[in-house]
Structure formats: structure tokens, C-alpha cells
Symmetry: C2
């Protein structure tokens, strides 16, 4: 079995955006940003995770299934939680513990299907420590651009998976903003149905 890793998994446009212009509550993907995620919506493994049946079983679906199988816990920022809480509903698609970085003091929020939101008030190191304990021998996934940036800057990210979408959005939310100089190593490159799945390992000194 592979060592548990701290990972991030994002769909990104060729010009580096993970959401289009005017991304905000009510328009979380921004203008045109839905094109970054269209590859995933029809996949069997993704639909199953959302409680839906049917969908395509192909190479893309395998890549998504592989990520779910390795997922042991999630760390995300307050804004992503606030935006997601309502649309995710009673049974959020995580099915693991989700550690939310926030200044708010709040009791854990237990949802159906194995998702519990745990609110962490003392920074990313402690959030990661708790997430690692919850994940056991599985991976901790870091969610959301600004949280990924914090983990990259702190040297806490082990792996990065980018689903590169052949579109230029021109404006929006960049995945890599204010990250320091970081060496990566390509672990795999898979082209499939108009998406390039790029795996990277973060090279640490």
C-alpha cells in the first residue's frame, strides 16, 4: 500500500484559471468556468459519488474513481465551506471528515454518508495533523485554490493532479497565485477525451 499523501486535485484552464471572471457566491465557477468541469459530470464514478446512477465508464471515470478510493480526509477554507454547504445538501459528496479552516468556534457538523465538517481555528498545521489522523492510511486532499496555495507555500503538499482543459478563460481565479518557487516532477500524463490529466510530485529539499 502507498504511503498516505497530501494531495490536491484541480481542473484548470490552459491559462491557469480554476474559475472564470466574476466568481462569487451564487456563481462559484465564474463566467464560463463550467467548461472546466464538464468532463467530470457525465462520469459513472463521479455520479455514483453524488448518489446518482448511470454515466460513462471510461479512462476519465477510472481516474476519478482512483482519487475517491485514496481519499481519507479533506482540508478546505471557510469560503468554500460556506459556498458549498447548501448545494451539498444532507449527504455531501465527501464521505470522509472535512476540516474547515475558520476563525469561527463551532461544534462539528455531522452529515449523512460519512461526511463530518470539523472546524479548525488554529491554522493549517493543526488542521493537517487532525486530517492525517482521520485519514489513516489514505490521502488528505486539499481543496480550493487559496488553501492549496497556503499548503504549497508551507511545503506541505506532496502531490498535485491537474486536469488541464484546452480553453483560455482570460480572467478569473488563478490556481497558482503568490506561490513560491517550487520544483515538481511529472508522475504521469494521460490524455483522454479532450482533457490532459497531469500528475506531479512536489520535490522537497
Amino acid at each position: 500500500m502507498a504511503e498516505p499523501r497530501v494531495t490536491a486535485d484541480m481542473s484548470m484552464s490552459l491559462d491557469g484559471f480554476i474559475a472564470g471572471a466574476n466568481a462569487r457566491r451564487g456563481n462559484p465557477l465564474g463566467d464560463g468556468g463550467e467548461r472546466l468541469h464538464q468532463w467530470v459530470y457525465g462520469l459513472e464514478s463521479w455520479r455514483e459519488r453524488q448518489g446518482m446512477s448511470g454515466g460513462r465508464a471510461n479512462g476519465d471515470a477510472e481516474i476519478v474513481a482512483e482519487g475517491f478510493a485514496r481519499l481519507g480526509a479533506v482540508v478546505m477554507g471557510r469560503r468554500m465551506f460556506e459556498e458549498g454547504e447548501e448545494p451539498w445538501g444532507d449527504e455531501p459528496p465527501f464521505h470522509v471528515s472535512v476540516f474547515v479552516l475558520t476563525h469561527e468556534m463551532r461544534e462539528p457538523l455531522v452529515k449523512k454518508g460519512g461526511t463530518t465538517f470539523v472546524f479548525v481555528n488554529d491554522g493549517i498545521d493543526n488542521a493537517l495533523k487532525q486530517a492525517r489522523a482521520a485519514a489513516g492510511d489514505k490521502d488528505v486532499s486539499i481543496a480550493g485554490a487559496s488553501t492549496i496555495q497556503q499548503f504549497l507555500q508551507a511545503g506541505l503538499l506532496d502531490e498535485l493532479q491537474i486536469h488541464l482543459i484546452p480553453v483560455l478563460l482570460g480572467d478569473g481565479v488563478r490556481l497558482f497565485e503568490r506561490v513560491g518557487d517550487t520544483e515538481l516532477e511529472i508522475t504521469r500524463v494521460i490524455e483522454s477525451n479532450g482533457v490532459v490529466h497531469l500528475g506531479f510530485r512536489v520535490v522537497k529539499e
Copy 2:
């Protein structure tokens, strides 16, 4: 024979930079930017073009050789010309006509080995017209980030080749800045020696 195309060919970091921070005259690749080009320096086809012998003959070298074989003319901005003129020397590595976008009125500058710099004062459409005529059945290559951005915005680019380098530079000169919404189609993906060569066709309405 393939139709002549308007192309651009750039090495880019995963975070979208084609040069590092503090890029300027005397430091054209910026801090750390040399890592974006290291893959090319040792290649036989690249060295031959610079008048040097030896080097590696591999898949990367073939990709570079293919680009040279298709090259019929170049369009570049004034700044790239001014920065390059001295280091390129008496026999610049283009070996074709190079159309320089500038406000300066100036006679063509004929160099050894087939490179002639032609100064164009009336905009990108006319520069492209002249470059196409010079290229005949070969491609016109657009050089430099800001000139590529102008051609993308004007809908004049047909193809884009990105050599994606697994590094985050954190700061520098972005390839895609102020470009409009543009759909691309992946034409090929080749991983080779730590570089991902990505080919795209620009989808036009």
C-alpha cells in the same frame, strides 16, 4: 503538404510563466527562468540551428526539428528584437525573414544565414500579410508573449504549442495575460524527459 499556419511555440511553467521575476534587458529569462529552456539547449536539432555540432538526438530533438522544418517566417515585437539583436550575432538562429512590429521607420537589416529583419510600422495585420507572403507554403511563427497575446485577441493564431515545464516560478511574465475567451482543441500530447509537449488548435467560430 499541410496548409501554412500561424503558430506560436513557447516553454511555460505550470503556473503560466514564460520568464521569471525581474525579467528585463540583461536578464531576459528573469530569475529562475532558465529552467524553462534547459530541455532544449542540449538537443542536436537546436544546437545545429545555432551553428553548433553534437547534442542529443531524441524525441524532444525531433519536436524541435519539426518546428524548424515548418518555419517560413517570424513575427515579433520591438522589445524582443532589441533584446535579441546583440546576442543573436551576425547569424541569428531564424534563417528566415523576421517581421518586427515597431513604430521606428527603418530599412530591412540583412544578416547571414538567411535572416532578414523587416520593420513593420502599420500593425499586426500587415505584418502577418508580409510574413505569409515570405513564408510561402511554410508556417508563420509568432514570437514573444505580448505579440502572441495580440494575435490571439485578434483571432489570427491557428495553432499553439506549449512545452509545459514542471515548475512553479511564482512570479514573472505570464504567457496568457489579457487574452479573451478562446476555445482550443488538443492535437497532441507527448511526454518526454520531464517536459510535456502540448499541441493545440485554436477553434474559430
